[in-house]
């Protein structure tokens, strides 16, 4: 029954999603923009990665780190080394996709039902709170994860097509896969859960979005930290981080069920 009820929610949410132009645009356009931007940076280094860039202090320190972590890259030219650096960071950058989709989708998920007053009838069915929250979160997280994976694939394709195929072996390490296939799902579900919580607590979608932006900030910081190269996520560190977030997911779902008081939703909405 639990499975059936969650599936019921997923089916309906997707049906609504695919009939709304705005949400379709978001799910398709945002990843394209992020992917294109990433590829553009790598291409810029390839084209203009001249002496001036390499002599800057920031890139010097980055190069220093690359040679420590991936000694193998020393056979490559300096611009190539920087390209490998960017490409290895790329999956972190892709995390922006689920996070941003979550901020704009999940925030509406409960608030909308409050406003149209379908929520009271929904809460009068035998659906369990956790089923409802997980269903709502997964309905956004699953497409976001799939889209992110497609972007990862397209990235590899793009790298091939743009003639950087020889760099693949340097950045396609276990960490790259862990980020894509473990960290991305974990962070997606986390963002959507947080989004749904924000939505359940808020009075309208605007304040829901503000709330969600606040809780999604740590995720954005993580991306920032990684991209700036302050902390270098090795395979082990990545794995630990990913597992930690999976654990946090379960924890957040539990907290969410507590925070999502059916009663206050019904009585605070008149």
């Amino acid at each position: 029954m639990t499975k059936q009820r969650i599936y019921n929610i997923l089916k309906k949410e997707w049906q609504v999603m695919f009939t709304e132009v705005n949400s379709l645009m978001l799910v398709t356009l945002l990843p394209v923009i992020i992917l294109a931007q990433g590829l553009l940076y790598v291409w810029l280094i390839d084209k203009f990665g001249g002496e001036s860039m390499i002599s800057s202090a920031f890139f010097q320190s980055v190069l220093q780190k690359i040679s420590e972590i991936m000694p193998a890259v020393s056979v490559l030219t300096i611009p190539e080394q920087l390209q490998v650096f960017l490409l290895s960071q790329f999956n972190f950058y892709l995390l922006l996709i689920p996070v941003m989709i979550a901020v704009s989708f999940a925030t509406f998920s409960i608030v909308d039902e409050k406003q149209t007053r379908s929520l009271e009838a929904l809460l009068a069915t035998p659906v369990r709170t956790w089923e409802l929250l997980l269903g709502k979160a997964l309905s956004g997280a699953i497409p976001a994860i799939i889209v992110t994976w497609i972007c990862g694939l397209l990235l590899l394709l793009g790298v091939q097509i743009l003639g950087w195929g020889h760099l693949l072996e340097y950045f396609l390490n276990p960490a790259w896969f862990i980020i894509l296939f473990l960290l991305t799902p974990a962070i997606s579900i986390l963002s959507f859960l947080l989004g749904v919580i924000g939505s359940a607590r808020a009075k309208d979608s605007k304040s829901a979005q503000n709330l969600v932006l606040l809780i999604v900030l740590p995720v954005l910081m993580l991306i920032g930290i990684q991209i700036s190269g302050l902390v270098w996520f090795t395979t082990i560190l990545t794995l630990v981080l990913a597992i930690a977030i999976v654990v946090i997911d379960f924890f957040v779902l539990k907290v969410a069920v507590r925070l999502f008081s059916r009663e206050s939703i019904i009585i605070s909405w008149r």
Binding site: V16, T116, A121
Partner: protein, 306 residues
């Protein structure tokens, strides 16, 4: 008793919405909630349906405490909420399928078809709910409360916003449902609706004012009166009546006498005989009927005086 409440109380901050309510509802019967705006009808229904918790006291619904095990109560109830909402961008049928999907139903689509047809919405089932009129939405909401064949049906003002014809149809439907064995709890402001449908009526104003069958409520408040309309009433007639010892009370309004008898069936012939003998020319003899509205208003007035 299928439903029983024990000092059921709900406060919102300082304000008491429902105060020490003790009511019962029998299986297969229709219980009406009657009361002025803000009397706590919706709040009581929500507590019985396991949507909100009482601040003190409790209810038992089919052996289950709604505040302790709301999900189990949700399995056996259907509720028409005060202002029902739908997913406006989805068709009526899809909306019902979605809500049906939360119950363990083997024949959901058959049930949906049955009630959509019954509610006269079958032809419009593919239309988006957003395009529905208020009355259509209300009928759809009643359908939604029914598709999983709940044991208990809560209907919060089921005919509000419906035109007289559809209201009558909905009332017929509710009556049929109770004959099929559904237990119905119905709140309404429409007194004749309550009288037509309910075996028992709970008059509520924060606390319980009265709970009884409409006929009993009537008897409790008003003694039996015989109404006699005459061509003319003169002093001789009044004098003759005053002498009759079985008359407990009498009053006069133009050419009509209102007389309260100790035992109407026994004394009415006697009374009429005396009037005729006193020269009175009788046009009409009837029992004075009190509408439920009279009862309701006097119940609430009585409350106010206390």
């Amino acid at each position: 008793m299928l439903i029983e409440t024990f000092n059921l109380t709900r406060k919102f901050g300082e304000r008491t919405a429902v105060d020490n309510l003790n009511i019962t509802a029998e299986e297969g019967k229709i219980l009406g909630f009657l009361g002025p705006n803000g009397a706590g009808k919706t709040t009581t229904m929500r507590m019985l349906a396991g949507l909100i918790s009482p601040t003190s006291g409790y209810a038992v619904v089919d052996g289950i405490r709604p505040d302790k095990e709301p999900e189990r109560v949700h399995e056996i109830i259907g509720i028409l909420t005060e202002s029902p909402g739908f997913y406006n961008n989805m068709s009526a049928q899809r909306n019902l399928e979605y809500f049906a999907g939360f119950y363990n139903l083997s024949d959901a689509s058959a049930q949906i078809e049955k009630y959509l047809r019954l509610m006269g919405l079958w032809e419009r089932r593919q239309d988006k709910v957003g395009t529905y009129s208020k009355g259509m939405k209300q009928r759809l909401a009643i359908t939604r409360a029914l598709i999983h064949k709940p044991k208990i049906l809560f209907l919060d003002e089921p005919t509000s916003g419906l035109d007289p014809e559809v209201s009558q149809e909905v009332r017929g439907l509710i009556k049929n449902l109770s004959q099929e064995g559904y237990t119905v709890i119905l709140s309404t402001h429409n007194l004749s609706e309550a009288e037509q449908l309910c075996q028992r009526i709970a008059v509520i104003r924060t606390g319980l004012v009265a709970l009884d069958a409409p006929a009993n409520l009537r008897q409790r408040l008003f003694r039996h009166q015989t109404m006699i309309k005459l061509e003319e009433i003169d002093e001789r007639l009044i004098g003759a009546i005053s002498k009759l010892d079985f008359i407990k009370n009498h009053s006069r309004e133009e050419n009509t006498l209102f007389i309260e008898l100790a035992d109407p069936s026994k004394h009415q012939p006697e009374l009429i005989k005396s009037i005729v003998e006193a020269g009175g020319r009788i046009i009409e003899v009837t029992d004075k009927k009190h509408s439920l509205e009279d009862i309701y208003l006097s119940l609430l007035n009585e409350e106010e005086k206390i």
